[in-house]
């Protein structure tokens, strides 16, 4: 089945809402991460497909990210309006950090991970150290926060594209 760019865009918004509901439910953090990652992947596909529907990015987020142009920041516009270089760099850093967080946990092997296998991965990646309480919950929250940041940026860009 062939999806159009605008279909990928619509599809990206629903799983993000579902991811938050699942996270708030507290019973399936790995599933919440899955839904959040799916939302970001769909968004990247929407941007990529809008330019070239023949693109074969599969599920590689890094590759999709490069091709999507989603991390585009309009530096000229910011400078023209008098934003400081520090403020401009901060916005870029914040967005890249959010995307990195998504890419790390949306690793191919983790896309279908159970709670237990996610915890094993976090342990091997030394990401459990110093976390009080449920580390999977904490990582799910960080992941969804990052995914939502990326989605917010994407929604803004998509609206500008539609003008």
């Amino acid at each position: 089945m062939q999806f159009r760019a605008d279909q990928y865009y619509q599809v990206s918004l629903e799983p993000m809402q579902q991811a938050r509901s699942i996270y708030q439910g507290g019973a399936a953090y790995a599933l919440a991460i899955y839904c959040g990652g799916l939302a970001v992947e769909s968004l990247l596909r929407a941007f990529r497909w809008a330019d070239d529907s023949s693109f074969e990015g599969r599920h590689d987020l890094s590759e999709l990210l490069r091709a999507s142009g989603l991390l585009r920041i309009d530096y000229d516009s910011l400078r023209q309006k008098g934003a400081s270089e520090e403020a401009i760099n901060d916005q870029g850093k914040k967005l890249r950090a959010a995307m990195n967080e998504v890419v790390i946990l949306w690793h191919n092997n983790l896309r279908f991970a159970s709670e237990a296998s996610l915890k094993t991965f976090l342990h091997k990646a030394s990401r459990l150290h110093g976390i009080k309480g449920d580390p999977v919950k904490k990582h799910a929250m960080d992941f969804l926060d990052a995914a939502q940041t990326v989605i917010n940026h994407g929604v803004m860009l998509w609206q500008l594209k539609k003008k």
Partner: protein, 170 residues
């Protein structure tokens, strides 16, 4: 009132946004730009927006139509190259025009300069519009007596600036 208008109304009342844009294509999605989101995580912003929607007079079907409303700060909105939005240009009786725009004093300063850069045009100090929905600034601009500034001329000047967007109903 349609669901989209009810949502826009609720967002304006609760979040004092600088800008709201919602589209209704197989579901409602869009952005709300507000300073209230500063220092809030992306998830907390969504929780806040959910609270606003829950308190709005929406039926269950209308609530289900909402796909995603992204909550962003003015600084984040700037990163995508969003232009300064001129909300209204009004012709005044004394051969001047009043310009209303979304944003803070730096945005108003930029729009003012776009007019001041034209020969003979002088502008007043921008002031916030009290009681407006969202954050609006206004100032007046006047041309020389030999060539008064008309609304049409002001529109032409502002529309030609790449960093200014004149709203369709301005």
């Amino acid at each position: 009132m349609a669901a989209k208008e009810k949502i826009v109304d609720a967002l304006f009342r609760a979040l004092k946004p600088e800008y709201v844009r919602l589209d209704d294509d197989d579901g409602i999605s869009g952005i709300v730009v507000s300073r209230l989101f500063e220092d809030m995580s992306a998830l907390d912003r969504q929780t806040k927006i959910d609270e606003v929607l829950s308190a709005a007079p929406l039926s269950q079907d209308e609530r289900r139509k909402v796909l995603m409303i992204a909550g962003v700060t003015p600084a984040e909105f700037e990163t995508v190259g969003a232009r300064i939005r001129v909300h209204k240009i009004r012709q005044m009786a004394n051969g001047a025009v009043e310009v209303l725009l979304h944003g803070g004093s730096s945005d108003a300063g930029y729009v003012r300069d776009a007019l001041n850069n034209q020969k003979g045009i002088r502008t007043t100090e921008p002031k916030p519009v009290i009681g407006a929905p969202g954050v609006l600034m206004s100032f007046r601009a006047k041309g020389p007596s030999a060539s008064p500034l008309t609304r049409a001329k002001a529109l032409q000047i502002l529309k030609s600036d790449p960093y200014i967007e004149v709203m369709s109903n301005a």
